[in-house]
């Protein structure tokens, strides 16, 4: 039974998968539009967690070139690339969130509510 130590050692991956599922569930099942947007953000963040945890090495150094000479023996860098990717991803997530929020404001102006089931009801009267 070496599965359990493996799972414990790699827990960030499992957390990210669980978060991904929570995010999808929240987005698709919640009736409040705000909660749906929160769900979108949870999905995005779970993927960023996956990226970042894939880059990390326990005991690794920050990927900055040493000022004098070379690396001390036995030291190693963590992978800097996923951090750059996640930064891009965060910007994308931010703009999607801002855009979605602006649509929600407009929906509130039209319907006076941000609950999707109440919006459906209002539409069914018309």
């Amino acid at each position: 039974m070496d599965v359990i130590p493996k799972v414990i050692h790699n827990y960030p991956y499992f957390v990210s998968v669980v978060l991904f599922c929570i995010g999808i569930y929240t987005t698709l099942s919640q009736t409040s539009l705000m909660k749906k947007i929160i769900g979108i953000n949870i999905i995005g963040n779970s993927i960023f967690l996956l990226f970042i945890s894939s880059a990390n090495i326990r005991g690794g150094m920050a990927p900055i070139a040493p000022q004098h000479g070379t690396l001390p023996p036995g030291a190693f860098y963590v992978n800097p690339l996923p951090a750059a990717l996640v930064l891009t991803g965060i910007v994308v997530g931010l703009s999607v969130t801002a855009f979605a929020l602006s649509i929600v404001v407009r929906m509130y102006e039209y319907y006076g509510t941000i609950e999707s089931n109440e919006i459906l009801e209002i539409r069914s009267w018309e």
Partner: protein, 497 residues
């Protein structure tokens, strides 16, 4: 200028991006100049794409390392027959749509939003072009997101209750879709440690046997993610609302090009990284075929039930996306070439149909399909263009829709699945069942007492000119399909060596 473009192909995307952000400044200066300027920028884009396509048709492949960083580190841009073909399709259709929008936009979009509308439109074009050219999977994700957001904004531009709600639904589902895609990209990066498609593919061949379940996850995540975004049948729920409530110009580009741009990305991922053998071995391809054939049947059935013209056209897009996916799933070179060719043919036909619907609404204020009696005599240009595109949709010979269906049928026989020929015929009949009544009504269901004389349409000249050009394009490429067909066949050779 062309020599510069040859040395730096991404300049064409950069040019469109800069053009996009000049638009608000032009609108500030004089609002009426926005439309002609955007047409001019788009024409430059079309000239550049045609030049790149002529290079690609000669068999030249341009590889460009952005920023001078060679491929494994930097972002690579490739101009091969496939990307050149997609570039030409995007710029050609968008030029016509922009020309149409010079007349139609002020009736549908608030006046102070027109400058921004063109910004978003050109942004969407630039990101789709980038998606066709890039060879880097994370760069692809960024372009996918830009396309998604700007496509939503184009729906939202109409600023009505329905459009707002449709845009929110679209944004939500598109973001879930890109979440799946990004998860797939993250897993691919975890497995292979590379972001360039060529290098990912090389590494992937060496290691994929160690991760059987992960490969399943990646492939199905890509199918679900891109399936949501390109409205593959059971995942199409956002499409009818978004495409029918948007302004006409937006509907044309969304239905004609945007859903296809995601298919382009999917083709690149599936065939360049995983290869067809793997898709076949783990049944992803069979899943794709099932979804595609149900799209072809149920999309048409749903379209039949709609009374709103634009909703009917939107559901017909669901069916037509099925054709493209069928071409991908068949796995024979002819089938894939037909699928790629159908990207072009359907873009022309669907843009023509949506714009004709917009013109009908412009003149008569009518949105219902059952109130078109005798309209063929009042609007001969519009209904004529509509009929040509609709007959092409049905797949009659002489029209371009026939060419892609013919090659799809050949491809399915080549792949040893003659069942799909029957499905193509059934789907063609279903198309006929919801398009022919419109044409019949417009020309033959006429009040006996009214004089049967043709009077010219009362629509602005750009609208009529666009419709005529698109209808002629449909006929021309139905009679002489050599140029797009040869590019599509060369493109299929890249993916199925």
């Amino acid at each position: 200028m062309f020599a510069f473009l040859e040395a730096h192909p991404p300049a064409i995307v950069l040019f469109m991006l800069m053009a996009a952000f000049i638009m608000p400044a032009i609108a500030h200066f004089r609002r009426s100049l926005c439309a002609p300027f955007s047409c001019g920028f788009m024409a430059v884009g079309l000239a550049g794409s045609l030049y790149l396509a002529s290079l690609a048709a000669e068999g030249r492949v341009i590889r460009y390392a952005a920023g001078g960083w060679p491929p494994p580190w930097g972002i690579e841009v490739v101009i091969n027959p496939f990307s050149a073909f997609i570039l030409v399709v995007i710029t050609f259709i968008c030029l016509l749509i922009l020309f149409y929008s010079t007349a139609s936009l002020q009736t549908e979009v608030a006046e102070n939003a027109i400058g921004w509308y063109y910004t978003i439109f050109l942004l969407l074009v630039a990101s789709m072009m980038g998606m066709a050219m890039t060879q880097d999977i994370f760069n692809m994700y960024v372009f996918i997101e830009v396309t998604g957001i700007s496509a939503c904004a184009l729906v939202l531009a109409k600023n009505t209750r329905l459009a707002t709600e449709a845009a929110f639904k679209y944004l939500l589902l598109a973001t879930v879709g890109s979440g799946f895609v990004l998860f797939g990209i993250a897993l691919l990066y975890l497995i292979t440690g590379n972001l360039n498609i060529t290098f990912v593919a090389e590494e992937f061949r060496l290691v994929y046997k160690n991760y059987p379940f992960l490969i399943w996850t990646v492939l199905s995540f890509f199918l679900v993610g891109f399936g949501i975004k390109s409205a593959l049948f059971p995942l199409h729920l956002w499409l009818p609302d978004a495409h029918s409530s948007a302004p006409t110009a937006s509907s044309a580009i969304l239905s004609g090009l945007v859903v296809k741009a995601y298919i382009v990305a999917l083709i690149k991922f599936y065939f360049l990284i995983f290869g067809f053998e793997l898709l076949d071995a783990i049944y992803i391809r069979h899943l794709m075929l099932i979804m595609a054939s149900s799209a072809m049947v149920f999309g048409s059935l749903f379209a039949f039930a709609q009374l709103d013209i634009k909703r009917r056209l939107a559901y017909s897009s669901v069916a037509q996306v099925g054709y493209v996916f069928l071409g991908i799933g068949l796995g024979s070179a002819t089938g894939l070439a037909a699928g790629i060719l159908h990207i072009f043919n359907h873009a022309v036909m669907k843009a023509c149909l949506f714009m004709a619907a917009g013109a009908i609404y412009y003149q008569t204020g009518n949105k219902q399909v059952n109130k078109l009696q005798g309209l063929g005599y009042e609007m001969p240009i519009t209904i004529g263009a509509f009929s040509v595109a609709a007959l092409s949709m049905v797949g009659l010979p002489l029209f371009s829709g026939f060419i892609s269906k013919w090659y799809l049928a050949q491809g399915s026989i080549e792949a040893g699945m003659p069942l799909f020929v029957g499905l193509l015929i059934l789907s063609g009949l279903l198309n006929a069942s919801y398009f022919l009544p419109i044409i019949w009504q417009a020309f033959f269901d006429v009040d006996q007492h009214k004089p049967k004389t043709f009077t010219l349409d009362l629509i602005p000249v750009p609208m009529a000119a666009t419709l005529i050009i698109l209808a002629l394009t449909v006929v021309y490429f139905g009679l002489r399909p050599e140029f797009p067909l040869s590019l599509a066949q060369q493109a299929a050779k890249i993916f199925l060596p």
